[in-house]
Subunit: 136 residues, 4 copies
């Protein structure tokens, strides 16, 4: 998304966010979509009765990705301790959803694609946590 | 976003959504981000007292774009009458936000970029409304 | 919710919102919860395969109620034309969800309770539309 | 909200959620509203330039309360480790928002009311964390 780069550069704050923030934000937006779409695809499957856990993990993950995405879209008066807690919760949600989707990946291709988006987003959440020390 | 094309193709429903749906979804995700970021940038401006209306239009527009984006991410048991009402509300929100942002575009570059995202999203909402007849 | 009355009274705007706004807001918050909980209860039912439409209507309705609830929580620089479009979309979502839930109400008590919350919220959305003329 | 008690009792799951879950959910819904309304009231204040941090804390807190509220509304295939991470992030958001609002409480009554809602919600998040052991 070109808009991410543009909006971050044009913000009146002193310095634009790091590439870790930008990449995590992009991953959150993509993962939130993938999880909403995967839950919907699971609901349409004949075997929906076997996909309850997947649908729940999708819902949790979409919610967390949207909220972390919104937090990363804002630079004014950022609370790093809170951002870290959000990134931690989002990483857990992504990993739990990826783990469940991977169990169905051979049967449901949408679960395979969703798992990839979740793993990617979890990776960027973890990277963000590594690069923002607790003391910041 | 590659995930949009992939997830739409892999959904168990009979036929993938039209390109009008796909384009509108992508525009919603980009516009939701731009509006959240623009509200935050406005809040950081020295002249925040002159940007109250802009911040409110941003908040409304981000909310509507997120909700329409989620609706367009789902194909199962779609209610076209409701989708049309959502697309109509989202188009209004985008046009109102674009109109306000354009008033500040020469002073605040983030408003200029945000207005572009809003105009693009409004265009795709209107196109979606044209291509989905009320009787559908 | 006591907070609704308190926050509306303490807002620096000239006049507090009408009781139509307050009642619609309270109904939105209750209906959004009921729909999220009903979708989850449907997902846990043995007959989940027959409840796909109900789960989709629940998701749409929860989304619209949350967004209208947020719009009604804000008084600054309100855009009445947009609020009307949102209230219209929310009324449609509530009525569609109520209609679907009522079909399962004798079998699933959570659908009966959810339908009541949806009918109540739709009523308050319609009342709000009656009391806010298009020309406002 | 009567709907919370009703929907929890009527869910097909084996046992209804504890009172800690119910109380935390109700507190989340009230706090999310209070924070959205407080941000809007701050935006309308003449001294909005001094309330940037408050508006940011409000936004973060409303987002986290909404997401935790949605998670607590669902009982199917609950992931307790994730719920704990969400409750922890929400508690931090509530405490940060309360702390900031309390600084303005003598000048802005809406900040005083919002701080009370945040403290109440933080208390219920902490109680939930105490009652759901990490090993669950």
């Amino acid at each position: 998304m070109q808009a991410i780069q543009d909006m971050f550069t044009l913000h009146p704050s002193a310095a634009p966010p790091s590439s870790a923030v930008r990449d995590c934000l992009a991953a959150c937006l993509e993962c939130a979509f993938a999880c909403t779409a995967c839950a919907d695809a699971c609901l349409a499957e004949a075997a929906v009765g076997n996909l309850r856990r997947c649908i729940r993990r999708n819902a949790d993950c979409a919610d967390l990705c949207e909220v972390l995405g919104r937090a990363l879209s804002r630079q004014t008066e950022l609370d790093w301790a809170l951002l870290r807690a959000e990134a931690n919760a989002c990483a857990l949600a992504c990993e739990a959803c990826a783990g469940e989707c991977e169990r169905h990946a051979s049967m449901h291709e949408h679960c395979r694609v969703c798992a990839l988006a979740c793993r990617e987003c979890a990776k960027h959440c973890r990277r963000l946590l590594e690069q923002t020390p607790p003391s910041q």
